[in-house]
């Protein structure tokens, strides 16, 4: 590498720290606000240092909820979000890996037609077909259900394409060796292909979990019962009331709780996350 001079290096450090500060500031503010008294905040007198209401605020947020119209404990919302995110991630991986397996390792009539049928879904996010999908989910009596929350979001091709791409790189000889070793389609899938796909599955899981957890428009539309709210929907409802009544410490605590699981996943499983992000965009 070309050597950097001293000044250049300090400049780089400085710019990066400024960037980090810009990125972190709103979150810092949320942390501070979640530990202060609502009355002080509402007066516009908020201090930039943490206050003393930490336990109180988080206890109320997790187990009681706001005192306003939606009195749903955030813990319950988080549980809903968790279930939805897991269903989306696991469901998508499960149905994608077996369909990719069929498409790569079998020859059958309409194989390419099926592949394209799945492939085209890559192009259209749920937002563009939101009301017709809503109507179908309503017709199937899936409103306010976990199935209704997750199924329409599973209908996409990213994971299928990723697995297909990966399977193509698995050497043919591995299948041939398995066949000579007496393994049929199920055994080969279970004993060889699945263990080899572990890293890919993990990377995909990380990305899909984050995407699932962060879903907003779809849950907003199809959940009407308070106890089925996800945390993203819940937080929006907390500031629906007129400004004066918004309980900002609780809102900020909820915001922080809403970002905690996905941020945790990104930071702790950084390698898998980066890999998953790059692979799914290919």
């Amino acid at each position: 590498m070309v050597e950097e001079e001293g000044f250049q290096r300090y400049l780089a450090h400085a710019i990066l720290w400024i960037g980090i500060a810009i990125v972190a500031f709103p979150v810092y503010l949320a942390i501070v606000a979640s530990t202060q008294d609502n009355a002080v905040i509402a007066n516009g007198q908020m201090s930039l240092l943490p206050g003393g209401h930490f336990l109180e605020t988080y206890y109320q947020t997790l187990f009681v909820g706001t005192s306003g119209s939606t009195r749903e404990p955030v813990l319950n919302m988080m549980l809903n979000s968790l279930i939805m995110a897991l269903l989306i991630a696991v469901g998508k991986i499960a149905i994608s890996i077996i369909s990719a397996y069929a498409i790569v390792y079998f020859r059958f009539p309409f194989r390419m037609a099926i592949f394209w049928t799945i492939f085209i879904t890559l192009m259209l996010p749920v937002e563009v077909r939101i009301y017709p999908t809503y109507k179908i989910v309503a017709d199937l009596h899936l409103l306010d259900s976990y199935a209704g929350l997750s199924l329409p979001l599973i209908a996409s091709a990213t994971a299928t394409l990723l697995f297909r791409q990966f399977f193509m790189t698995v050497p043919d000889e591995l299948l041939e060796a398995s066949r000579i070793d007496g393994a049929g389609p199920f055994r080969f899938f279970w004993d060889t292909l699945l263990p080899l796909s572990r890293t890919n599955m993990a990377a995909l899981f990380v990305i899909l979990f984050i995407l699932g957890w962060n879903q907003y428009l779809w849950p907003l539309l199809i959940t009407t019962r308070d106890d089925m709210q996800t945390i993203q929907v819940g937080i929006r409802k907390m500031i629906t009331t007129t400004d004066a009544l918004t309980e900002w410490p609780v809102v900020m605590a909820t915001a922080l709780l809403a970002m905690l699981p996905p941020v945790f996943v990104v930071v702790v499983m950084q390698k898998l996350f980066v890999r998953g992000l790059v692979e799914t965009e290919k």
Partner: protein, 360 residues
Amino acid sequence: MANVTLRSVRKTYPGGFEAIKGVDVDVGDGQFCVLVGPSGCGKSTLLRMVAGLETITGGEIDIGGRVVNQVEPADRDIAMVFQNYALYPHMSVYNNMAYGLRNRGMAEAEIRTRVEEAARVLELSPMLERKPRQLSGGQRQRVAMGRAIVRQPKVFLFDEPLSNLDAKLRIAMRVEIRKLQRRLNTTSIYVTHDQLEAMTLADILVVMNGGQVEQIGNPLDIYQKPATTFVASFIGAPPMNLMPLRSDELTSQIAGADGAGIVGIRPEDFVITGETASGGVALGLTVEAIEHVGAETFVYGSRRREEQGVAANPGELPPGEVIVRVPGTTGPAIGERIRAVAPRDKLHLFTADGRKRVGP
């Protein structure tokens, strides 16, 4: 134990490409058969058809008295060693070898005995718990062998198993494979493009070209009496010198060459001498290059009409390059003119199209 018989086996791909154009081979029980030929000659395809990895378009493949055309690979009682070894990357060495046995429902105790015995023979015992990526190329190769051995199959199939190893290891493994096969006395079919490997390993050598068998026989017979010019130039290194004959030049030098259009002489059958050859061939050469290999020396000479001062025989062959092998390190100098003589009984005569041997 079993013999393997191929009866007019054919393979045509859906696109119409004829990969195997009718092959008959009979490998006796416990024999080591080597399929050799240039890349694309169909040798691997043929092996994979025996394994059951490729469908058979025509003819019959018979293993141990049973036609296996429609039999699944797993049920043919064969084991295969792949060029890239195809080890299961996520399984330990032990499990790589045990997998096929488990799939057949063998008792774990019996599996353990077999795997440990194979590991002992192949000197893999300390590595049974390692993953393939922690092994060297040679060790991986031995694991692939082990996976085949533990099965105690009727037939071993080898698909260029040594081509991913470096030269030194390749020779060592070649000897090991041969010793192992002798000891187990298991019928084996081995594919390679390396003629030296083929010569040293084979009980029966099958030389293939363009989806057809050029010649079958024991390696020395093939070396001494190649049936076609293809075999003549493919087996032996450096290759046999092949020179077209003109009818008017035949009479004086080569006796009994009726119908021959090509004469072949191996580099080692030449003698550099001043004497004439009765019934044989004498060539006048200008030395162009010399390769010292140590035990022997290869002389590359060119024959040119205008330089007939050296050998003015009327039966002089047409221009071209000739390789002459000289034992030891002494040889002519570059630019020197020499006379290379080969006796009559060392000449190989072929028809002009090279498809048929003429005479003995």
